[in-house]
Symmetry: C2
Subunit: 416 residues, 2 copies
């Protein structure tokens, strides 16, 4: 199999990026928005031009199937075309376009594969307009309930079902695999700085961190900031500050791969001359070791108790959700590594800090991911950027890996 066509990939990238483009080279293409409708139309046109049979399921997931030469389960490739609000052009889109370029090069070169290859664009990966994130893939593997998901609303009260109708993507196919794929592969930007720091082009993603989301509420007394001597105060924000500091320090003490973040924090009554009566904040804990995540949850509780004892405040701690780590299939990771070696692109094994559609697919079949570097680790904003050479390298490794996975025995078909 030859190299991919970088110029054709570039043209597609620019054209797709023009749909929902922001003034600053970003992308504002919320799930099931008018812009998402237009980019889907373009995607379907491209699939049909390749002669693929296109199907759209009830949740708007779009599939294109290229037949194989044998009666075998397909290989599923792709990612998502929706974006964060004023997000970047690489997140998701690059995975769909690498898959598209892979099918084009196979077609160009008249290469048949033993297994069918299905390309997919998943609905609402980002979770920015509708909760939860990973809606399409999560429902496909059976984790989310279709009716519940269709009834979810955005800030304006529009349901997923209505938004699908509006852009013409309320398909009729049942959501879920008619045939369980033999393997799933997704290319994505890293969204972190590790590849760039290590000077590697290709990340062979072996798994995804486990995660817990916690919400803590601390309650003190809303006294007047002037006449209340310091010794009489029970300040919910002072107690929360202790916990924010402890959460930061906790990561380093538990394990090297642990990340801990307080992302949301609000104060009541939030008035310059009133001592904070209530603070609510979230804690995001991630580790590849699920026991470490559990340990961190316990420690957050310990820190809350200590801070509240000190300050005379009270607290509640709620676990919003917790998911174990994902282990991707060694067979698929090995295939990626072999493809990277074959293309002379330096690769490294790594763990993803963020969840992806491939995390759900791993519940169903052998899955893994290819990461390409994110400059400065930037993501979910208009400064998100990946060097074009790295994009091409990633797409090349992706195409080689796909062909390897689509062979009857999982071996590469050789490099013509």
């Amino acid at each position: 199999m030859g190299l991919i066509d970088p110029d054709r990939l570039r043209v597609s990238f620019e054209e797709y990026s023009s749909i929902g483009a922001t003034d600053r080279d970003g992308l504002h293409r919320l799930a099931l928005s008018e812009a998402d409708g237009r980019v889907r139309d373009r995607f379907v046109d491209d699939l049909q031009e390749l002669g693929l049979s296109v199907r759209i399921d009830e949740l708007g997931n779009v599939f294109g199937r290229r037949p194989g030469t044998e009666d075998l389960a397909p290989v599923l490739i792709g990612s998502h075309l929706d974006s964060q609000p004023k997000g970047g052009r690489y997140d998701g889109q690059l995975g769909v376009l690498s898959a598209l370029e892979t099918l084009r090069i196979l077609e160009d070169e008249g290469i048949e594969t033993a297994r069918p290859i299905e390309i997919v664009n998943w609905t609402n990966e980002e979770g920015a307009r509708f909760k939860p994130a990973l809606t399409g893939s999560g429902t496909y593997v059976g984790t989310h309930d279709l009716d519940t998901v269709l009834a979810e609303t955005d800030d304006e009260g529009t349901t997923v079902a209505e938004a699908l109708e509006e852009i013409g993507y309320r398909g009729t196919d049942p959501v879920g695999p008619d045939e369980v794929p033999n393997a799933a592969l997704e290319l994505h930007i890293e969204q972190g700085p590790r590849l760039e720091e290590a000077g590697h082009t290709i990340g062979v993603v072996e798994g995804v961190l486990g995660m817990a989301w916690l919400e803590a509420t601390i309650r003190g007394n809303a006294d007047h900031a002037g006449p209340s001597p310091m010794h009489t105060r029970s300040d919910a924000l002072v107690a929360a500050a202790d916990v924010v500091t402890a959460v930061r320090r906790m990561a380093g003490r538990l394990d090297d791969d642990v990340v801990t973040t307080v992302g949301e924090l609000s104060v009541e009554p939030d008035s310059v001359n009133v001592i904070p009566a209530e603070t609510t904040f979230t804690v995001d804990v991630r580790s590849y070791d699920d026991e470490v995540v559990l340990d961190a949850v316990d420690r957050v509780d310990d820190e809350l108790r200590a801070a509240c004892d000190r300050e005379g405040t009270e607290y509640d701690l709620t676990e919003l959700w917790r998911i174990p780590h994902t282990e991707f299939a060694p067979s698929v990771a090995d295939a990626i590594e072999a493809a990277a070696d074959g293309s002379d692109h330096p690769s490294m094994r790594m763990i993803s800090g963020a969840g992806h559609d491939a995390s759900y697919l791993a519940e169903l079949t052998d899955a893994a991911m290819i990461f390409v570097p994110s400059v400065d680790g930037q993501t979910h904003n208009e400064r998100e950027f990946t060097e074009w050479n790295d994009v091409v390298a990633g797409a090349e490794v992706f195409a080689r890996t796909t062909r390897r996975l689509a062979s009857a025995d999982g071996a590469d078909g050789g490099n013509p």
Copy 2:
């Protein structure tokens, strides 16, 4: 002069409290609201019933004047009838009703005073609906500009001028003293715990803390909470937590009377899985020593710099406003103390942590305040409470002090 009439005071207190009452024995009577209009009508009726000449200025400050026997400058007594949102029944109202009871007992007993006595209800002391607080008294003494104040809007865009028209209190008298008062006296609840802690009934308020309000903004990077290793982070909230902790600790290090508070804090983008990119928070610093306030402002800047150096974040620090401490007139404080001694109510000298209308009047004339205890220091909420015995004691000392101030030589006219 005899004791005041506690039953009459109680009836007035209950009747006034019914105007804008909340379900939980609190008061929701925002400045220039319909409820404020009704309580003003009641107040004006009460003044007229006493035969006082009533005048209303362009800012809605309501005055009632009882003539003196000599051609001398008047004594100004009173407070405010507006409340915080779902505030308490004692804050402000108690000062107006103590002044009203004082005039009633003088009238009852046919006591004439050498100096005229003016009772006042100041417009918008709280600053809850319209900024700034202390609007009426601050404009009266010339600190605020009348046209600017009249053009201030509430959250609905209603101006002070429009709100005054709506309730019929856009008076015609110029704002400011036609004759500078010889002294000013205000009774208020302490809004702090010191009197209760000390077991005293009467606070002789000798001054008000100086104050600075600061606003700090810290800017970091909004990276994804999953794929961003701890060492790459510049977390605006972690840096802010350091400063919140330092501000708390600072009070104890600077001086015993210093109070420091972070009351407002907000986080951007405020998302559970995004590292905070920006945090904005306020710092309220108060001390009787203006140099200590200045020192504290410098230290907040030092702490911000240190926290931002540590975290790789940047910051801005703005001084929203700063006012020096207020020294009340020893002559008026002595008069209060003498009246308390004469009534056998245990008193203590103290400094107010909060600003009051009397703080502005101190710029114009000899002023001081009487504090009565706040149970648990509660204020600005429906749990605000003062024991009725303490209310009566305060009103009694207030009446005696007023009579003393209204004598030609400032001495008490004796206790008939």
